[in-house]
């Protein structure tokens, strides 16, 4: 009797709320744990190649910054590489236990979990336990109203089988690949399943203040059934910026 009542309730809800369900389905097949693809070596993921190999995306091009910013960016990259070669890596936000934020958290350095719930897709990146909430069908946040956050403010919609996500409000200090950006930066992601195992994320960044043209690249993720995301709290950081020399140091004693 209880089962019949439950069935009736579900069927009634499905009928009455049919239009809502059609706009905001709970599951579109991206639920679960994912790791970066191509695979990143021992410890980073499952080490299990997909059943059907997929051509990996090309490397990310250098940011198409406006010339003056590009010159500055290249000089910083060169200086950082030179220091690193000498064993004196420059301070970084990661060294200070500051999370990557958007879009860096979507490169999936460590595995990530995607949770599809009614009206929301939540993404949890294991590294630094970073969380972003994508509000489906919500009114986009205007950049001037967006409180600066590491993950920004994300709204999303399904276009057929592609989840299109718009993100604004990323803190200016959260710099992906040392690339400067303004509070008017807009990140668009188009996530779709290439096959049952591979999820593609085409990322496009528009920021007229700093970028001469949109910056686009593709990331891919491989499904990792059964993987349980672990806790990662940056609890015992022994790295610090050497105040005199301005490079990374490890506190030994």
């Amino acid at each position: 009797m209880r089962l019949r009542l439950t069935l009736v309730t579900v069927l009634t809800a499905a009928t009455v709320g049919g239009s809502v369900l059609a706009q905001s389905p709970v599951v579109r097949g991206i639920n679960g744990s994912w790791e970066a693809y191509p695979l990143r070596g021992e410890g980073f993921g499952s080490g299990i190649q997909p059943k059907t190999p997929v051509k990996p995306p090309p490397p990310i091009a250098e940011p198409p910054l406006k010339q003056a910013f590009l010159d500055e960016w290249r000089a910083v990259q060169a200086r950082n590489a030179e220091l690193t070669k000498k064993g004196l890596p420059p301070p970084s936000t990661g060294m200070a236990c500051i999370p990557e934020g958007m879009p860096g958290m979507m490169q999936s350095t460590f595995p990530m979990e995607i949770l599809e719930t009614p009206g929301q897709v939540t993404i949890i990146q294991e590294a630094f336990t970073q969380v972003r909430r994508i509000h489906l069908g919500a009114k986009p946040v205007a950049p001037e109203d967006a409180e600066p956050r590491f993950a920004g403010h994300s709204t999303g919609r399904w276009e057929g089988s592609t989840l299109v996500v718009e993100t604004v409000g990323v803190k200016e200090s959260a710099r992906f690949r040392n690339t400067p950006h303004s509070m008017n930066m807009r990140i668009t992601e188009r996530l779709r399943l290439v096959n049952d195992e591979i999820l593609e994320n085409v990322v496009t960044i528009v920021d007229p203040e700093f970028l001469a043209r949109p910056w686009t690249w593709t990331w891919m993720y491989k499904r990792w059934p059964g993987y349980k995301i672990e806790e990662y709290v940056c609890e015992d950081n022994r790295y610090f910026e050497d105040p005199a020399q301005r490079y990374q140091r490890l506190k030994v004693n």
Partner: protein, 132 residues
């Protein structure tokens, strides 16, 4: 193999695409690996990095020092087969490590051998042991 690992590290830095979540391993002498055997004084299973402290002697020089050995993050080590309680103070272990370039007694772990003979790596980012 000795040349491949440093080359990969440099490529990773230049391409701006590090796979480490926390920091660069450049302060360690990546082309040098040494073997230390000694007794664990502390085992810290924490993020961003797991640390093992040992009173150990360099197998070649017999010099005894108190070493801080840096491991990867806890989840990387779990995926490489470790467990949070795999080591305890008093355990005798052997490690293959790359020491800091500045001579301080700290080193990046490449491989650990526990008292019972089990061996574990420190994950792909730290690189493999090139000596045994």
């Amino acid at each position: 193999m000795k040349m491949i690992l440093p080359t990969l590290l440099v490529i990773s830095v230049l391409s701006g695409g590090p796979v480490r979540a926390h920091h660069s391993f450049a302060p360690y002498e990546s082309t040098l690996q040494i073997k230390l055997s000694g007794v664990v004084t502390e085992f810290r299973w924490v993020n961003p990095h797991v640390y093992i402290e040992i009173d150990a002697a360099d197998e070649k020089t017999a010099e005894k020092r108190h070493w801080l050995i840096e491991g990867a993050s806890t989840s990387i080590l779990n995926r490489a087969g470790w467990k949070f309680n795999i080591i305890k103070p008093g355990d005798r272990i052997t490690v293959i490590v790359s020491p800091l370039r500045n001579g301080e007694p700290a080193a990046l772990l490449k491989q650990i051998t526990l008292a019972d003979g089990r061996k574990f790596s420190n994950g792909a980012a730290a690189g493999r042991a090139t000596i045994q």
